[in-house]
């Protein structure tokens, strides 16, 4: 266990040092929120600054969970690092454990930075418990993307992992309405994505304090699907 925790600690530090993480998961959503978030409008029964805060926090959390790990796992498999780890007392599950914990830790700053901008610069107001519940819900939901990262990392090469991530994540972010609110057909499609429903969980908590069963069902279904893919990719990679 000690060995696993040591690896986890170092893995977290590396992510924080990594420029790609800072840009995609923290700087980009924070900047977009600062630039766009101040419009006055009402979307999904909440004011735009709250709506966009949740969108950007969701985007940042998912990006943080997905981008680092997928590419790192692919790279470390290719470079022989994962093989090398098999020559130590680290248990077989230690590597994945470290990666999952790292994702769960590194989604936190993305959420906190965007929420911080919302609370202190854009004057988003809601009861304290709603802030806390919203942050926790986002954090839990981002676990679905932790599994997707593992699935992609074990399925693709370092060269193809990045395009694979973009191909899956950007349409989901766009159709999920994280970047700007959608209407009509696009929204009808978007409703099937975990990005849309994760975002909606947040706006529902702000507006009515009640979340819909549909949102939970969609998020859980994707979570199960991604976890299944992760297990399949991991197994087929081990057999090679």
């Amino acid at each position: 266990m000690n060995a696993t925790l040591t690896l986890t600690k170092l893995d977290v530090m590396r992510v924080i040092r990594n420029g790609r993480y800072l840009i995609f998961a923290i700087a980009m959503p924070a900047a977009l929120y600062l630039i766009i978030g101040k419009q006055t409008a009402t979307v999904d029964q909440v004011d735009f600054k709250s709506y966009y805060m949740l969108g950007m926090a969701t985007y940042g959390a998912f990006a943080g969970a997905l981008m680092n790990n997928s590419i790192r796992i692919a790279t470390e498999r290719k470079s022989g690092w994962t093989r090398q780890l098999r020559l130590t007392s680290l248990p077989g599950w230690g590597y994945i454990f470290a990666k999952v914990i790292t994702s769960l830790v590194t989604t936190i700053p993305s959420v906190l930075v965007v929420f911080g901008i919302g609370a202190f610069l854009n004057h988003v107001e809601m009861p304290a418990w709603k802030w806390v519940v919203n942050a926790l819900v986002l954090w839990l939901v981002s676990m679905t993307f932790v599994s997707l990262a593992v699935a992609i990392g074990y399925r693709f090469d370092p060269e193809t992992a990045q395009p694979a991530v973009m191909l899956v994540f950007f349409p989901m972010a766009l159709l999920g309405g994280l970047w700007f609110p959608l209407g009509g057909t696009l929204e009808k499609i978007g409703k099937w994505f975990p990005t849309y429903q994760a975002h909606k969980l947040g706006t529902d908590i702000i507006s009515t304090g009640k979340v819909s069963a549909t949102s939970i069902a969609v998020v859980v279904a994707w979570g199960v699907l991604f976890a299944l893919l992760a297990v399949l990719s991991y197994r087929s990679a081990k057999e090679q």
């Binding site: 060995a3 690896l7 530090m13 990594n18 790192r72 098999r86 007392s89």
Partner: protein, 322 residues
């Protein structure tokens, strides 16, 4: 200290009739083919073979990274996984990756913590000659510097068996010397060191025992001197105008004959016997020179001879010649 897990006969590493076949589009490749060997504690052993001889495949099976199709591999009398779990093995892989976004010190420190009885990080860095690189990012280092990081990782666990696959590739002369100086200290501490290398002079200088494999089979096993002897280790040359080929080919202990006008070059496993036979036959050669073959030439000679034989008869010939 962990329990004494050495096998009854005391071997640190045992291969018993081990085979491994890969399936390529061109058909099956017998990477390792009935390999049997045992390594005793405290030995420094060089593992030699041409490219594709099965060295890396053997080392991978030794370390439990791949499974043999048949036969038995044992480390300290048990499985590789058990030995590794107890910190009995420190290894440096040819294809061993390193982390990105970490410093040399962090990387080596992590490795120490992944072993049960590590030596201090500072010691490992010093012995690997990378104390000055401690705060540099691992992914910004040159190939030779990364090799030294790998080396620090192989020794930080203070393991009784150290396995090195092509350890000095990419190192400059100075670092190669520092590397072998450290390796010698480890050997003096009673550690077993097994290394695969392309540099035959390293095997000649540092190994007490040399194991040569070719086409996945054991080809020669002994001290460097024994290997040289088994290869027809002397080169005998002289000037002898007008001698007939038939006379030369009748000489005893002959391995090969080469002629260039009046100059004759023979390879022989017993230069004295060969020369006396020539003199006894009434010939008086001039400009006689006897030269020992280096391990490199011996290695080339025995693997070339093996490649000329389609089947396993060469091994028997070599053993008879010893």
């Amino acid at each position: 200290m962990p329990r004494d897990t050495r096998s009854p006969n005391g071997a640190v590493v045992e291969f018993e009739n081990v085979s491994k076949t890969f399936h390529s589009p061109k058909g099956p490749v017998h990477a390792v083919n009935g390999l049997t060997m045992a390594l005793q504690p405290g030995q420094t052993i060089a593992f030699l073979g041409p490219n594709g001889a099965g060295k890396s495949t053997s080392l991978n099976m030794l370390l439990g990274l791949s499974r043999p199709d048949s036969g038995r591999v044992a480390l300290f009398g048990g499985t590789a996984a058990e030995a590794i779990k107890h910190g009995m093995v420190g290894a440096m892989l040819q294809s061993g990756g390193l982390m990105s976004d970490v410093t040399v010190k962090e990387q080596v420190e992590l490795w120490g913590k992944l072993h049960p009885r590590p030596i201090p990080v500072a010691d490992a860095l010093k012995r690997a000659n990378i104390a000055d690189l401690a705060d540099r990012r691992v992914d910004k280092l040159s190939g030779g510097q990364q090799q030294r990081v790998q080396f620090a990782m192989a020794i930080i666990g203070d393991s009784p068996l150290i396995v090195l696959d092509e350890p000095t590739t990419g190192m400059d002369v100075e670092n190669r010397q520092a590397f072998w100086a450290t390796m010698r200290e480890r050997a003096y501490e009673g550690k077993t060191v097994l290394f695969a290398t392309h540099y035959l002079e390293e095997a000649d200088q540092f190994a007490e025992r040399v194991i040569v494999i070719n086409k996945g089979r054991l080809l020669a096993d002994g001290s460097s001197a024994e290997i040289k002897a088994s290869a027809g280790a002397k080169r005998l040359s002289f000037r002898l105008p007008g001698v007939q080929d038939a006379v030369l080919h009748r000489l005893p202990n002959l391995v090969s004959v080469e002629r260039q006008a009046d100059i004759v070059r023979l390879q022989t496993s017993d230069s004295d016997a060969t020369l006396y036979a020539l003199l006894d036959a009434g010939y008086r050669p001039a400009e006689i020179e006897i030269q020992a073959l280096g391990l490199e030439q011996a290695f080339i000679a025995i693997t070339a001879e093996d490649n000329n034989h389609a089947d396993g008869t060469t091994t028997a010939t070599l053993e008879a010649a010893r």
